[in-house]
Symmetry: C2
Subunit: 144 residues, 2 copies
């Protein structure tokens, strides 16, 4: 089942409706390579769909996060970003605080240790956030 079908399915199960706006937003979102804020995606969408409002984009992104198609990211700059969940490929982020570049990484050994930690505290993990902030090679070289 692809993600469009998955979304339709989710809508149906929740008694929600499939609308052209939701489909347009999902479709554009899935084509994204970067980490969109509501604002970003809203602006991108305006080119092809000038009638779609900001609130609808926002509401749809929340729906996508609810049904697992998107993850919400919070890098501490006061803006929530969304990124498509890549099937069975969880990853975390390295963020360059100079140029804003975002690098994705995944490290199963870290995931394992997380699980250990959670067990030690009788905790059941539902999700996590792991972000490394610093400087990428380019910025480190420039700001020397």
């Amino acid at each position: 089942m692809d993600r469009i079908a998955l979304f339709n399915d989710y809508l149906h199960r929740q008694g929600l409706k499939n609308t052209s706006q939701r489909m347009a937003i999902l479709e554009r979102f899935l084509r994204s390579k970067s980490h969109y804020s509501t604002e970003d995606l809203y602006l991108k969408l305006r080119k092809d769909h000038p009638k779609i409002g900001y609130a609808t984009v926002h509401r749809t992104l929340k729906l996508l996060a609810e049904c697992g198609i998107a993850v919400e990211l919070n890098f501490g700059d006061g803006q929530t970003r969304y990124e498509p969940v890549k099937a069975d490929q969880h990853h975390d982020h390295l963020i360059c605080t100079s140029c804003g570049k975002i690098i994705e990484f995944s490290e199963p050994r870290i995931e394992n240790l997380q699980e250990q930690v959670a067990r030690q505290h009788d905790f059941i993990i539902h999700s996590h956030r792991h972000e490394l902030y610093g400087q990428c090679a380019k910025c480190a070289a420039e700001n020397r």
Copy 2:
């Protein structure tokens, strides 16, 4: 050098001034055990210092974060929290999404792996954020 001296030093270096408000806020903040939002700390302070305004608390917390006495925490609920940096004892957080309980943990093996990841990407880490969200034992038992 204790943290009060450290703060004074920082203020001086930045051409800022040492005021009774800043000292009161720092002093109260250092006594805190939990993770205060600006609002939390402002309310606590009102007991002894009813004249200190919200904006001053907020501005001072930002200063404390700047000079490394406090760390900003963002648990994604739209409120920034601050916690005193404990000397040579970095830790991360387990957050119960049912009751809001916050458990601290530290796991040097995770820190090591982080460094490895950063090296692989030619990245220099300045700080990081690692949070595990889920249910604590108590909430898991209750919501059964």
